[in-house]
Amino acid sequence: MAKVLVFIDNPGQVLKKASLELLTIARSLGETAVAVNGELHDDVLDTLAAYGVQALYRPSAADLDDYLVGPKASYLAAAVQTAGATVVLTENSAEAKEVAARLGIKLGAGVITDVVAVDPDGTAHKSVLAGSYMTTAKATTPVAVLTVKPNSITPEPAVTGTAPSAVTVPVPDTATAASARVTARSEKAASSRPDLSEARIVVAGGRGVDGNFGPLEELADALGAAIGASRAATDAGWIGHDAQIGQTGKTVSPQLYISAGISGAIQQKAGMQTAKVIVAVNKDAESPVFEIADFGIVGDLFQVLPQATEEIKKRRG
């Protein structure tokens, strides 16, 4: 049976859904080991046990977060060797992809990013060219490193739990030698809304919101949705850059994407056209967003969205 190592960087108090997805995929491929960086809370440990994790690794160094990427890859390379893993799974964030990139070079392992499904034989499925192709790819090396997009699978705990105990993996002394240092860090305020990359519903606004995301926020709250934006809206400073969806922002694949006051440029579509259902509200009937909308409304978002919010509230009594 294949040994699969899942890398979870700073699991926090409770494991994210994206991490649970990785654990579920890992179990479908073989025996799961987890390499954690950062604090390990009891709640997280319980979840790892419930997901059938057989082995658990922690780094001998506590300062990996003080450097950019390199030392984390050194730690992970050591963990892969200790575990004897042939498949490594990480999340698909910018930093995790970079850890995967360097790990690949260290191990002579092929790296595949943006994976949405993994077959039992290790074949990875991913879409490329802004969602216009579905491809299958495989690492041709003894070890495969795959970074998996969130919302790829429904997380499922194991039938029988485990009781993994943590083993410390030595991080080589040389790991930090040629590394950039993180000299200051400012935490971002956590939003009460769902995480954009994991959200089931996204309400996104563009230049058409003209500085006022209020109607989108109210609709998002009624739907339990996350808020996204086009680059025009983030560049204007109406909302943080974290909310940007598209080629140079986030890629989302929610069940429902409501686009309001966004024209639908190719770079915006790159980040959202794999959504299950797309709804677009735009004043201009010629906007390209209507070419991909399942339900399009030619109208003023300041009329349409508040009316929809009211109607949802009314139906829910």
Binding site: A94, K188, I297
Partner: protein, 266 residues
């Protein structure tokens, strides 16, 4: 100061893009300089301009790896303001994945640093075709350089770089000494366009073509044969088609909710 900027020649996203042939590589017939590499070039030009420009002995070398057409990405970079260009081109490179690409580019960068050292390697945040963002991190690993990637801003003071990097949960200030590898995001600056003067000046600039033999890379280490991943199948996704489009006559918000209810999305 000697800066190498990596510029990739990529299929233009304004047209339909296709995967073709054995290995399912992107069809490059309608290709351009990757827009995201223009930010790297702009960052390089601003850095040398702040240090007296070419007159003070600074230079920006635009390096592209790719088939014959990729020389156009180098030419465009020269028009925008790069000092000289290098085109790494070899038939054996076809079908290279990130690992093979980074191996060849690392060898080219070492080669370009043999007479005078390279201070900085600048790249885009991702190529607009492959979109993996693997190459910059892999180059840092192979060249053993500090990695300062996804820089949303970049400052250089003496030999020390300071960058701002925006993450999902936190924003970081990152520092490293030169030489270093830096990738910049599209938040870093506003790239300039080539002007008439630049286009004329580019005609006199040097473009060096390098083959694998020039940089000491064995053909078996790169291309499809040397890659560590293989694309096995590629299927065009049926293009999304337009659904119902209505014009608001005062009740579109209610119709929207009815649509969501019918789709079981409420």
């Amino acid at each position: 100061m000697k800066i190498i900027v990596l510029v990739k020649h990529v299929p233009d996203a304004q047209f339909d893009r296709h995967l073709t042939g054995e290995g399912n590589t992107a069809d490059r017939s309608e290709s351009i300089l990757s827009e995201l590499d223009e930010y790297a070039l702009e960052a390089a030009l601003q850095l040398i301009e702040a240090r007296g420009g070419e007159a003070a002995g600074n230079k920006v070398i635009a390096l592209s790896m790719g088939p014959a057409g990729a020389v156009n990405a180098v030419k465009k970079s020269l028009q925008i303001g790069a000092t000289e260009g290098v085109h790494l081109s070899d038939e054996a490179l076809a079908g290279s994945d990130a690992a093979a690409t980074s191996l060849a580019l690392a060898a080219a960068i070492r080669h370009l640093g043999t007479e005078t050292p390279v201070d900085l390697v600048l790249t885009g945040m991702a190529s607009t075709d492959g979109e993996t963002s693997l190459v910059p991190a892999q180059l840092a690993e192979r060249l053993d350089l500090p990695q300062v990637t996804f820089a949303a801003s970049l400052e250089l003071d003496g030999g020390r770089l300071t960058a701002r990097r925006d993450g999902d949960t936190h924003a970081d200030t990152v520092e490293a000494d030169l030489p270093a590898l830096v990738s910049v995001t599209d938040q870093a600056n506003d790239p300039r366009y080539p002007n008439f003067k630049g286009i004329m000046a580019a005609k006199k600039k040097t473009i060096t073509t390098l083959a694998l033999a020039d940089i000491g890379v064995d053909p078996g280490q790169v291309g499809r044969a040397g890659s560590w991943t293989a694309v096995e199948t590629a299927e065009a996704r049926p293009a999304r088609t337009a659904g119902t489009i209505i014009t608001d006559e005062g009740d579109a918000g209610i119709q929207l909710v009815e649509f969501l209810a019918a789709q079981k999305l409420l």
